[in-house]
């Protein structure tokens, strides 16, 4: 019983631990998955900017100006053919983690 509880606790911790990514593209892919999975009323056709606007209203403790500059650099890479930006993945990972933490916290409260 103790081991089962310990195991469940570890799994829960793992789920809300900040994920580590090799590059910013991986971070954005993970954020895409988090939004798609944990924000059910977000329509499938959402764009990054629409998602940012929506998430800003939730009161997350995220530096949105840094997130916006990460997004601008990622867009230049994704749609503009620029080189992949080296930084910015930490802020994106933080948003992704915040989404999960909030959803898991909400589920636990219920």
């Amino acid at each position: 019983m103790v081991f089962v509880l310990l195991g469940a606790g570890l799994v829960a911790l793992r789920r809300i631990r900040p994920p580590v990514f090799q590059d910013v593209q991986g971070a954005f892919q993970d954020l895409d998955m988090s939004i798609t999975k944990f924000v059910p009323d977000m329509p499938p056709g959402f764009s990054w900017r629409e998602a940012m606007d929506r998430l800003k209203g939730t009161g997350m403790k995220v530096d949105w100006s840094r997130m916006e500059s990460s997004l601008a650099e990622y867009e230049a890479f994704r749609y503009g053919g620029s080189e992949m930006p080296k930084g910015g993945k930490e802020e994106v990972a933080k948003v992704s983690m915040e989404i999960r933490r909030r959803i898991i916290g909400y589920r636990n409260k219920r």
Binding site: P44, G45, S47, W48, E75, Y79, G80
Partner: protein, 311 residues
């Protein structure tokens, strides 16, 4: 890349037109996309003054034609007149030979005149009795129509509507804006002179730069998916044409440029989609009768929420 274009143009137009920032911005997007605009609204909501102010601040030659049911194509494109002195026919240019043509109340002109204008819009040239002459560049038509008129009008058919890059509906202003308009006219403060923002060379350079804005293959695939989604949408009997999608990508390019980017993102497409697509799609009558849909714009927006953009 020239920056601050949007702010500079809106500041000038704002000197004479109150509360029409979005509409002015859409005119600018259409102009940079080398397209034409259909403005729809009841009389007295600043359609003409908006078009005129836009032409002034862009430094464009402006002409206005008031369309009437007894109009002939030659009243617009011009025609051959006999020169008594030289004893030969010479071509006399009509008002269509300008940079910005305001076609006021286009739906009051008979189909022959509408057709002549739409040919000019498409080909940027006119042909009279086998004689072809190019129109000035840049060339833009801003046509207006009143949605409340039913007597003595010739509604534009779908194939002609498709030639307009955008259809912009001007609603009544909200009460705060209306108060500002009334106050301004009472105080006679609306005499601010619209200043030219660009010279001809700068304008040509900007138009060239807009054409260089990058559109990735994934964005093109996204546009194709959107077109397909409008065609398979059961609430529509007519989906978006390939020309509609070409117009949409040009508008998105202009929007990206005005936002200071040299590449298109999905939001550029979304921000202009209703204005570019809504007048080209046709609602399915059964969907209208059962009340499952209110407007083409609503269906277009629904389609955009379903189709996944590249992320």
């Amino acid at each position: 890349m020239v920056t601050g274009i949007r702010d500079r143009v809106l500041a000038q137009i704002g000197k004479v037109v109150v509360g029409r920032e979005r509409e002015a911005e859409l005119l600018l997007v259409s102009f940079l996309a080398r397209g034409h605009v259909l403005l729809e609204g009841v009389p007295g909501i600043s359609k003409t003054i908006l078009a005129k102010a836009f032409a002034q601040c862009m430094g464009l030659e402006f002409k206005r034609i008031q369309f009437t049911p007894d109009m002939l194509p030659m009243d617009m494109v011009g025609g051959f007149v006999f020169n008594m002195k030289d004893r030969e026919f010479e071509f006399r240019r009509g008002p269509v030979f300008t940079n910005l043509l305001l076609a006021d109340e286009i739906n009051r002109a008979p189909p022959k005149v509408q057709s002549a204008l739409l040919e000019a819009m498409q080909e940027v040239q006119v042909t009279v009795e086998g004689f072809t002459q190019k129109l000035p560049s840049p060339f833009m038509v801003i046509a207006t129509q009143n949605p409340q008129e039913f007597q003595g009008v010739y509604p534009l058919p779908e194939n002609q509507l498709d030639r307009f890059l955008m259809k912009v509906t001007l609603p009544y202003p909200d009460s705060a804006t209306e108060s500002r308009i009334i106050k301004r006219n009472l105080d006679e403060m609306d005499t601010g002179e619209v200043e030219r923002v660009f010279d001809a060379k700068e304008l040509e350079g900007i138009l060239h730069q807009v054409e260089q804005v990058h559109v990735s293959d994934e964005i093109i695939a996204y546009l194709s998916a959107l077109a397909e989604a409008t065609r398979s949408e059961r609430r529509l009997s007519l989906g978006a044409s390939p020309r509609a999608m070409v117009h949409l990508v040009h508008s998105a390019r202009a929007n990206a440029y005005l936002s200071g980017r040299d590449f298109v993102i999905p939001d550029d497409i979304k921000s202009v989609s209703s204005y570019v697509l809504a007048h080209r799609v046709k609602l399915d009558q059964s969907a209208v009768l059962t009340g499952t849909v209110v407007s083409p714009s609503q269906v277009v927006q629904d389609v955009f929420t379903k189709v996944r953009p590249p992320r």
